[in-house]
């Protein structure tokens, strides 16, 4: 039996970041991980999908623009298997990087599945470990199917991202069920590798939690690229065969039947709360199945047991979990960290064009009856975007009418994921649209579109 100040269940982006920060603050720390360090994010999530999306965008660039750019490539072939293997190497490097960071910070990594015992103890295999200050639940989430309509994940014809990331070849046809960030990213990837992709979303538009203008723009680009987008679509029945699946889908009052080699389930995730002794240790769950957490202390209903990351509740994003990890480590060490602003966490979908946002959508501003003003700037009017053939998309800034507070910002465009942080910093520091404009933006850059959108919200746009 070993004793630590802090024992963390789960070595994903919430858990391992919490461990590093705790170790930096002088706490003896252990991470319990049954699989590879880095969790879903590094191994079967954020990182490998970005590697595959890089392949996808390169394919699209060569296929659609090479000639125009002065590149003669001859007939082009693609190989998903090769791209997949590259994505595995990238994940592997990242996971090794986390291992290195654990060593560097003298964090003990315990291999295995941890079970929480009452009184801040954790059992791994035959060993019981004692946490003097805190046990941290950072057990994350996993993919899930929809068994109610016959779409249980069978890992052959009905698959999740877990299997899609290891396919040796792109299927001929695929239905992606769920058009959130994961669904849109995989639709983009497989479309580039020549798969006939149908994207099915139950809610009225794809990327349903983003601003409607973003959803519409992305849907238009996807359709132009040959992805069949069915929004507001209900899957009535699924007939799962050995080599294909047939879905009966109703959309806009019309019924249709779609047969595909594979169905990729990308509708929601389940959190990992089972078989780890949570209930017995006094850790309660919410109605929606997340661990019940007091968000000012990140403590669960069991004293001395804390919870961070996906399992603590939405938004289920790696960067949200990591921040919770840092803040929790500081709380445990007796510091007074700056509280997390859950309303200021950027959301990004990395398909092409990328969609990134922060704050409220225009729909939410309307619901809240806020007095707001929208500023927009299309990339088609931006010199840098034209020069690099990335004219799809726009920057949209929603500001409070009276004071200019940035209520929300939404970007669709080639590098939206990198651009959103100007607005994240602005919002975190309560800069208004005026401060955005006052900062000189380099020319020519895509970021000029942010300054122009800020100006447009004040009725002073220059370049449209």
């Amino acid at each position: 039996m070993a004793s630590f100040d802090v024992i963390i269940l789960g070595g994903g982006p919430a858990g391992y970041v919490c461990a590093i920060r705790a170790a930096q603050l002088g706490l003896s720390t252990a991470v319990v991980e049954k699989d590879k360090l880095g969790g879903v994010c590094v191994n079967i999530g954020c990182i490998p999908t970005k590697a595959l999306l890089h392949s996808a965008s390169s394919i699209n660039l060569i296929a659609h623009q090479a000639k125009d750019l002065g590149i003669e490539v001859g007939p082009m072939t693609t190989d998903y298997g090769v791209a997949m293997k590259r994505s595995r190497r990238v994940s592997e490097q990242n996971s090794k990087g986390v291992e290195f960071l654990m060593k560097k910070n003298k964090v003990t990594v315990i291999k295995g599945t941890g079970t929480l015992l009452p009184g801040r103890k954790v059992k791994v295999g035959a060993d019981t470990h004692d946490a003097k200050k805190a046990v941290v639940i950072a057990t994350g989430s996993r993919v899930k199917g929809i068994p109610q309509i016959g779409l249980d994940i069978n890992k052959t014809t009905v698959i999740s991202s877990d299997e899609a990331l290891f396919l040796e070849a792109a299927p001929k046809s695929m239905v992606v069920v769920g058009a959130g960030a994961v669904g849109c990213e995989f639709a983009d990837i497989f479309n580039a590798f020549g798969t006939k992709v149908t994207l099915v979303e139950a809610l009225p538009r794809i990327l349903p939690i983003e601003d409607a203008e973003c959803s519409d723009t992305l849907a238009k680009v996807f359709k132009k690229r040959g992805i069949d987008v069915l929004a507001g679509a209900k899957v009535l029945k699924a007939a799962v065969g050995k080599d294909s699946v047939t879905l009966d889908v109703e959309a806009g009052g019309e019924k249709k039947s779609i047969t595909a080699d594979k169905v990729l389930m990308a509708a929601g995730r389940a959190v990992n709360t089972e078989h780890m002794g949570f209930k017995e240790a006094g850790v309660q769950l919410t109605d929606r199945g997340f661990v019940k957490v007091n968000f000012s202390t990140l403590e669960t209903t069991a004293p001395g047991v804390y919870c961070i990351g996906d399992v603590a509740g939405p938004p289920m994003l790696a960067h949200k979990g990591s921040r919770e990890g840092v803040v929790l480590a500081e709380l445990i060490a007796g510091h007074k960290p700056h509280p997390i602003r859950y309303d200021n966490i950027p959301s990004v979908t990395y398909c092409h064009p990328e969609v990134a946002s922060i704050g409220l959508t225009e729909e939410q501003c309307k619901e809240k009856k806020l007095d707001y003003q929208v500023g927009r700037f299309p990339f088609s009017a931006n010199g840098r975007a034209r020069a690099s053939n990335e004219t799809d998309g726009f920057v949209k800034i929603i500001r409070d009418k009276k004071y200019g507070e940035i209520l929300g910002a939404h970007i669709v465009g080639g590098h939206a994921s990198e651009m959103i942080h100007e607005l994240a910093v602005a919002r975190e520091n309560e800069y208004t649209v005026e401060e955005i404009d006052l900062a000189v933006h380099a020319h020519p850059t895509l970021s000029e579109a942010i300054a122009e959108a800020a100006l447009d919200s004040m009725g002073r746009v220059i370049h449209t």
Partner: protein, 413 residues
């Protein structure tokens, strides 16, 4: 890394403070927010709190010393840390009320330095107030003084939620009472008001004051108070006795509500007419006087006013009022009735434009319906800032107030 403990400006007007008592000894561990010393400002005894974590390595001035704002009084750091580099700026205390206190050690104690120049107000002490652009815009719009708001952002930066806090719950927070939008109207000066202001100020001084006196028949108020207090005693017994001053305050607040022209601040280029009535009430304390403010007096019951004045006056005598509790009044009342003063004139407390001087209630022969009978009379004298209040304006207010006290039901009418 050791950090300095400086004398802070604990009230808006504070230029120096007397360190009354050290609450932490050298070597005691301290954390941000811990009270390390008590400091007597120009108005009250306040707490000086730690801004850093570690141990109090050094007390650079003895208890009883008077130290200018922004001067070094102590050092917080890690045990054994070399702090000699920080000690260059230690102050020499000026003549103190506690001459027996030991002299501070260290180079600064070698010779008395000339008195430090007065420190600027806290808004300017660090060169600027740290506040987000959004907070600045909202504060400008609402007329809030950012210097009086406690920031909750990184390094005490003022962010939007700090303004919301102070705007919704002025008394509950450690910040100065903020004023919500709509609590007053600023009216730019008309030419005639400018001329009146300039000519009168030339004639009599910076606050051209005139005085209006009226005599009030207090018979019915007397009866009403007797009845109220008897009813109170028959009740739980916990009721406080209502004083005449409480009744005069209640009536004044009601009369000001009817005469907003007298519930105003002179603001140099404009006059601020308040929609809220915050009554300053003069309380004698040892060595002087202080005016705690009963906020929203027009909205409070007689009993609430009575209890609040008693509580504020008690703490005023102990010098335990917070700055926000004795600033921000819109009109003042001074009562010397208990000293058997029949009538006097009080001096205006700027930027307020009026103050009411309340004498004692005198039993005397009065003529009622052609007959000489005994009656109780009270003399009220209002000092008016002529730049804001003209003779007729002040007289109309006094007539309303007199009417209310002669017929107390009119207060609640």
């Amino acid at each position: 890394m050791a950090s300095k403990v400086l004398m802070e400006a604990l009230s808006p007007t504070m230029e120096e403070g007397r360190l009354v008592e050290w609450k932490k000894n050298e070597g005691d561990p301290v954390r941000p927010g811990d009270v390390i010393a008590e400091v007597e400002t120009d108005k009250a005894v306040m707490e000086l709190v730690a801004r850093a974590e570690g141990v109090l390595l050094k007390q650079l001035v003895p208890a009883g010393s008077t130290v200018a704002v922004t001067k070094l009084v102590g050092v917080i750091g890690q045990p054994g840390e070399d702090i000699s580099a920080l000690l260059g700026g230690a102050p020499a205390p000026k003549a103190t009320n506690a001459p027996t206190a030991p002299l501070p050690r260290g180079p600064a104690a070698s010779a008395p330095l000339p008195p430090s120049p007065p420190a600027p107000p806290p808004t300017a002490s660090g060169g600027r107030t740290k506040a987000s652009p959004l907070a600045r815009k909202v504060a400008r719009e609402r007329g809030l003084d950012l210097g009086a708001v406690a920031g909750s952002g990184p390094e005490g930066r003022i962010v939007l939620r700090d303004l919301d806090k102070s705007a919704t719950a002025p008394a509950a927070t450690g910040t100065a009472p903020a004023t919500a939008a709509g609590s007053y109207q600023d009216v730019p000066l008309s030419q005639i008001r400018k001329t009146i202001a300039r000519r009168l100020a030339q004639s009599i001084g910076p606050v051209p004051t005139f005085y209006l006196t009226t005599e009030v028949d207090m018979d019915r108020t007397w009866e009403a108070r007797e009845a109220l207090n008897q009813a109170g005693q028959r009740g739980s017994g916990a009721e406080t006795k209502i004083s005449f001053n409480d009744i005069v305050m209640k009536a004044t607040a009601a009369a000001l509500k009817a005469h907003p022209a007298c519930n105003a601040w002179w603001q140099d280029d404009r006059i601020r007419y308040w929609n809220e009535v915050h009554l300053s009430v003069a309380v004698a304390v040892e060595d002087g006087l202080i005016t705690p403010v009963v906020r929203h007096a027009d909205r409070k019951s007689l009993r609430e006013i009575s209890a609040e004045v008693k509580e504020l006056a008690g703490r005023a005598r102990e010098r335990r009022l917070k700055p926000e509790e004795y600033t921000g009044g819109t009109f003042s009342i001074s009562n010397l009735g208990m000293f058997d003063i029949d009538q006097f004139t009080a001096i205006i407390n700027p930027p307020e434009a009026g103050i009411l001087a309340v004498g004692s209630i005198v039993e005397q022969a009065v003529v009622k319906q052609g007959a000489v009978v005994p009656g109780r009379r009270l003399r009220l004298t209002m000092s008016c800032d002529h730049r804001v209040i003209d003779g007729a304006t002040g007289a109309a207010f006094l007539r309303t107030l007199k009417g209310m006290l002669e017929n107390p039901l009119a207060i609640v009418y």
